[in-house]
């Protein structure tokens, strides 16, 4: 039997012997990775919403009411010629009012009570997908802001970018919390591995005396950490899947409607792989550190 087979056999026997302390260890790893997985699940869905919003971000060019038809046509030609622009739609004052009434029927009284149509005419500029957030868009908005007849230029992406920044900050904070939890879990795994190391101290001494290679002496403890971490992470993935299924059944349509994405998404293959390999990695690292006392 080679060293890997030996290490797995001994590690599995040790996990079974450890019983309750191994279960505690798996539980702490699972809690840490459940937290990480929860953050990732929220993050994946928020990111999808943000991406969709960012992709459909438009530049709105509001026009003065007294703008002549000639100047308006000139302005439209200018906008269409810009490289970042995919399509341009002119929305007249009347059409803007019509849209508002259609979107907010409960506010009909407000629009009826004012003497004049308060909505400005505008160009709604749809950007090319590869141009969003580039210097070409900045040039477009800056160029338009300084032209005659333009009252204001609004670019959705600016606040979306700020929102994305906030989301990134939240993701980093969540990552830090998850890292702290994982560190705690790693210490628990290391403690459990150390316990089994002490339980086998006599055997280890004899292994050293018969000249067993260090891979045989330490290997089982590294693999024990690996197993605890891997099983803990797998439990966490299963837990997240259960939670997701439950939440999707009860609140799925409401959440999807709220986010406007059609459906709530589960973790992707990449996130699941991060969790599983993360668990294996944390466990193996903890096992390796603990096994260093076997010398």
């Amino acid at each position: 039997m080679n060293v890997v087979g030996y290490a797995f056999e001994e590690a599995w026997a040790s996990v079974r012997r450890a019983g309750r302390s191994a279960a505690v260890s798996i539980g702490t790893i699972a809690i840490a990775f459940l937290t990480l997985g929860g953050f990732m699940l929220v993050s994946v869905n928020v990111q999808r919403v943000l991406d969709r919003w960012l992709e459909s971000a438009e530049v709105s060019v509001y026009l003065y009411d007294d703008l002549s038809d000639e100047l308006r046509a000139e302005l439209e030609t200018y906008v269409r010629q810009q490289p970042a622009v995919a399509a341009v739609e002119y929305v007249s004052k009347d059409k803007a009012l019509e849209r508002f009434r259609a979107d907010f029927p409960e506010l009909l009284d407000v629009t009826s009570s004012v003497a004049q149509n308060p909505f400005p005419a505008a160009f709604e500029v749809r950007l090319r997908p590869d141009a969003t957030g580039t210097a070409a868009v900045d040039d477009l908005t800056t160029g338009l802001a300084g032209r005659d007849g333009v009252a204001d230029v609004r670019y959705d992406r600016r606040w979306l970018t700020r929102l994305a920044g906030l989301v990134t900050t939240a993701q980093v904070a969540a990552g830090v919390v998850a890292a702290v939890l994982m560190l705690g879990a790693a210490f628990t795994v290391a403690a459990v591995v150390r316990l089994s190391l002490h339980a086998r101290r006599e055997e280890l001494d004899i292994m050293q005396l018969v000249g067993a290679p260090f891979s045989y002496i330490r290997g089982p403890f590294m693999v024990e950490g690996l197993l605890l971490g891997g099983v803990g992470a797998a439990v966490a993935v299963a837990g997240i899947a259960l939670l997701f299924t439950g939440i999707s059944r009860w609140l799925g349509s409401d959440l999807a409607g709220l986010m406007g994405t059609g459906q709530v998404h589960f973790l992707g293959l990449r996130e699941v792989a991060i969790m599983l390999f993360g668990g294996l990695g944390v466990g193996a690292a903890a096992g390796t550190v603990a096994s260093r006392s076997a010398r």
């Binding site: 039997m1 080679n2 060293v3 030996y6 006599e202 055997e203 001494d205 004899i206 292994m207 050293q208 005396l209 018969v210 000249g211 067993a212 290679p213 260090f214 045989y216 002496i217 010398r295």
Partner: protein
């Protein structure tokens, strides 16, 4: 085979367990280390097994200076040495067969070879009928025979034994010493530490007497 040059071992507070020890043991020799408690017998064996490093001087075994071995080389060296202790050092949860085959298993030997060699050596020490017994089910003499089987299973060039009969009655002690004589007869160098003078007399081999960490019976200048 074994040569010590100015070998010294100093523990905390300047206690000299061994002091300027110069000793040569030839290949294939059977040597008794004897002397009162604290004379340095066990310390010398621990240095030969590299459980400890010398404080001064050199230990040369088979042409290799043990003080210069790296951690991995120490493990490789130990595979060429068999050891037997007074307290047997058997793994309680493993059977007789497993306790012996364990020494081969951790070296990565194929399973079939492990089994064959383990059975041969257990048969040689007369324990082929106790293969599945746990150490606690054996008498002291049987446990020591398991320890001897484990020491021999790797076919070492050198066997070290520290008070191997310390826990045994006189009849069992003779039985164990006979095994050591047989091991030596096959060409293996054997070093046995004991304070049992009757046993030494009965076996009748070279005796190295230690006292206060030095060779005893030599003029001061020759020590």
């Amino acid at each position: 085979m074994i040569e010590t040059q100015g070998l010294g071992k100093i523990y905390g507070r300047g206690l000299h367990a061994l002091r300027d020890l110069n000793l040569t043991i030839e290949k294939g020799e059977f040597v008794f280390l004897t002397g009162p408690s604290g004379a340095g017998k066990s310390t010398l064996l621990r240095l030969l097994l590299l459980q400890e490093r010398p404080s001064e001087g050199d230990v040369i075994v088979g042409g290799r200076n043990l003080a210069r071995l790296t951690r991995n080389q120490v493990q490789a060296y130990r595979r060429t040495v068999g050891f037997v202790f007074q307290d047997f050092k058997l793994i309680p949860a493993k059977s007789v067969f497993e306790n012996v085959s364990f020494a081969l298993r951790v070296l990565g030997m194929p399973v079939e070879q492990q089994r064959r060699r383990t059975y041969q050596v257990l048969k040689w020490v007369g324990l082929q009928h106790r293969l599945n017994s746990l150490p606690e089910e054996l008498s002291g003499g049987e446990q020591q025979r398991v320890a001897i089987a484990r020491a021999l299973v790797n076919e070492p060039h050198l066997v070290l034994a520290d008070e191997p009969t310390g826990n045994l009655d006189p009849d069992l002690s003779l039985e164990i010493m006979n095994l050591f004589r047989d091991i030596n007869a096959s060409g293996t160098t054997v070093v046995v530490a004991t304070h049992d003078r009757e046993l030494i007399k009965w076996v009748g081999r070279r005796v190295v007497q230690l006292e206060h960490g030095q060779l005893a019976g030599l003029p001061e200048a020759a020590k």
